[in-house]
Subunit: 160 residues, 2 copies
């Protein structure tokens, strides 16, 4: 009925082999290097991507096996609705990160600012274009008071 | 084997009943209003979302039935790798937009800057937090020369 099927188009590799001690946002993962191994059949789709400094990665949060509608995010000790957080246990475990694009050689894409666990299945790559986002009257709710902390905080066991 | 299953968690409604004449980016859709009808069972997950001015919508490009690795985007007359564009015909037809959050009443979320076709299945909502993205040395490749055009351009038949 309601099922939507996607497929992994490649694998994201990073230094993070376990959930503990991962940076929880790209801003806390500056300089952390990783790479994407794109499945061979999609290599042609990478042409001209090297002109972009940053890309969106959309990926499967494959370790997330269930979800909660209220979660206590890494950055706060209060419960928040899951859609107002990036918590991995969501109704559809889809991850989204902006990473820095360093180099592309055939199907290997070197990236930086990686806040993603090793061996994560990749779903899509899109160019990051800030100008597309027509952002005005910007507010970030409960996260406002955690802005500084966001830049350094690592994850813990909360989402195991 | 390689299949990843998601489900629709709600429906995105917009004034766009057909692909022609849709704005192709949120920046070209300023002021365009729409709303999300979230499935009842997920309403609790919306708590505290109203503190955020903008949200990411991740959705199923449900009208996209096939894909091309090289595409001629609306904004250019040259072929580009699909991953360097937002073209809807992608290996996984996943859409991503930043929209302005206007109002939440129970399961109805009013949004603005909507570049999404009516009746699109919603997969996820995430808070838009610019500070998470640690963007430096910003470049946007082939799109650079289309920056102004990007703000006004509508779609055409290219992706039917």
């Amino acid at each position: 009925m309601n099922r939507i099927n996607f497929k992994s188009i490649g694998t994201i590799h990073s230094p993070f082999k376990q959930i503990e001690d991962m940076p929880i946002q790209p801003s806390a993962a500056q300089g952390i290097q990783g790479y994407i191994e794109l499945n061979e059949e999609y290599v042609e789709g990478l042409s001209d991507l090297d002109g972009f400094s940053h890309i969106y990665l959309i990926y499967h949060l494959h370790l997330s096996k269930s979800f909660n509608l209220k979660v206590k995010p890494f950055l706060d000790d209060q419960l928040h609705g899951v859609f107002s957080t990036r918590a991995p246990k969501r109704p559809n475990p889809i991850g989204l990160s902006v990473v820095k694009l360093m180099d592309i050689k055939h199907n290997i894409i070197k990236i930086e600012n990686v806040d993603i666990i090793d061996d994560t299945p990749l779903l899509d790559i899109k160019p990051f274009v800030n100008e597309m986002n027509a952002v005005s009257d910007y507010r970030i709710g409960w996260l406002t008071k955690h802005l500084e902390e966001m830049k350094i905080k690592k994850s813990d066991n909360s989402f195991k």
